[in-house]
């Protein structure tokens, strides 16, 4: 085969591989939290306190990280597109907000239940906010 044919073949192969990688990157899915390892396992009280005491240090440590949080359900808001579960802490105005994508909350907890949630930490406003949450277990209120 002539040299130019090898070059052309190489270019076509490089194009196919490059295109494939670009396609894969462009449509890559969000992190699969169920099969992720959590960076930390904490109670709602602990994670809120860490952010409340030193927010910038907590941001450095936990922002964008997968965190497992256990806490008591204070309030639930189920909507068609996403659901929000608030976990209580001893702080009057602050807690942990867990945002579930549509269909992610397989079992709907009740207020007062102790639940174990895995989510991605996005920081703190009044509450520490976890997104793309999944419910790991739900201990029904006795």
């Amino acid at each position: 085969m002539k040299t130019w044919k090898w070059i052309l073949l190489g270019l076509i192969l490089a194009g196919i591989v490059g295109g494939g990688i670009a396609y894969q990157q462009y449509f890559k899915p969000h992190a699969d939290l169920l099969h992720s390892t959590a960076k930390a396992e904490m109670s709602a009280e602990e994670i809120y306190t860490v952010f409340d005491e030193n927010e910038s240090e907590a941001n450095e440590k936990f922002l964008d990280e997968v965190i497992d949080v256990e806490g008591t359900v204070k309030k639930i808001n189920i909507e068609s597109d996403k659901s929000i579960v608030q976990l209580e802490t001893s702080h009057m105005m602050g807690g942990v907000i867990c945002e579930f994508e549509a269909g992610a909350l397989k079992e709907i907890p009740s207020e007062g239940d102790v639940i174990h949630v895995r989510g991605i930490c996005t920081g703190k406003l009044m509450d520490v906010v976890l997104v793309r949450c999944i419910l790991l277990n739900n201990k029904k209120q006795q």
Partner: protein
Amino acid sequence: MKTITILCTLLSLILFLSIDMQAQKYFTREAKISFFSEAPLEKIEAENGAGTCVIDFESQQMEFAVLIKAFQFDKALMQEHFNENYMESHKFPKATFKGKIVDPETIDYTKNGEYEVKVEGKLTIHGVENEISAPGTIVIKGEGIQVKSKFSVAVKDYDIDIPAVVRDNIAKTVEITVLGDLEPLK
């Protein structure tokens, strides 16, 4: 005499409700803030369902805050680029709005209904603060209220640097939509 007594009672009740509503602060930690921009190659949209909003009807002040990393995109890669390349959300984790209803006289606090208002204040995104003015709707409904607003911001006003190679694929302005159901702050 009886009619006057009834009228006085009704008047006092209306006055009481009106003062009570105006003195009230309303709050939510589940405000939905979304943005949308349409460019030749594709549309960019994301939603955040955990914004905080406080409105004080006595002073007409209102505040919104939102975590940048809590904006969720359909495409993971787009979300990565948004956070790392454009918004630098590790450096500027929050966006805030602090403003005021400038025409509160349009709201009848005693009557359920939708009231169109104008809001002015300071919007801080990517660490840059700008004065903005936006139309809004306040819906008085029983105990709670709903706030709605839709307005546009120019990307360049917030020092968001868009690389030349994708500049044509990203719109110059972004439409921001706000929707919040607020409860009385007790």
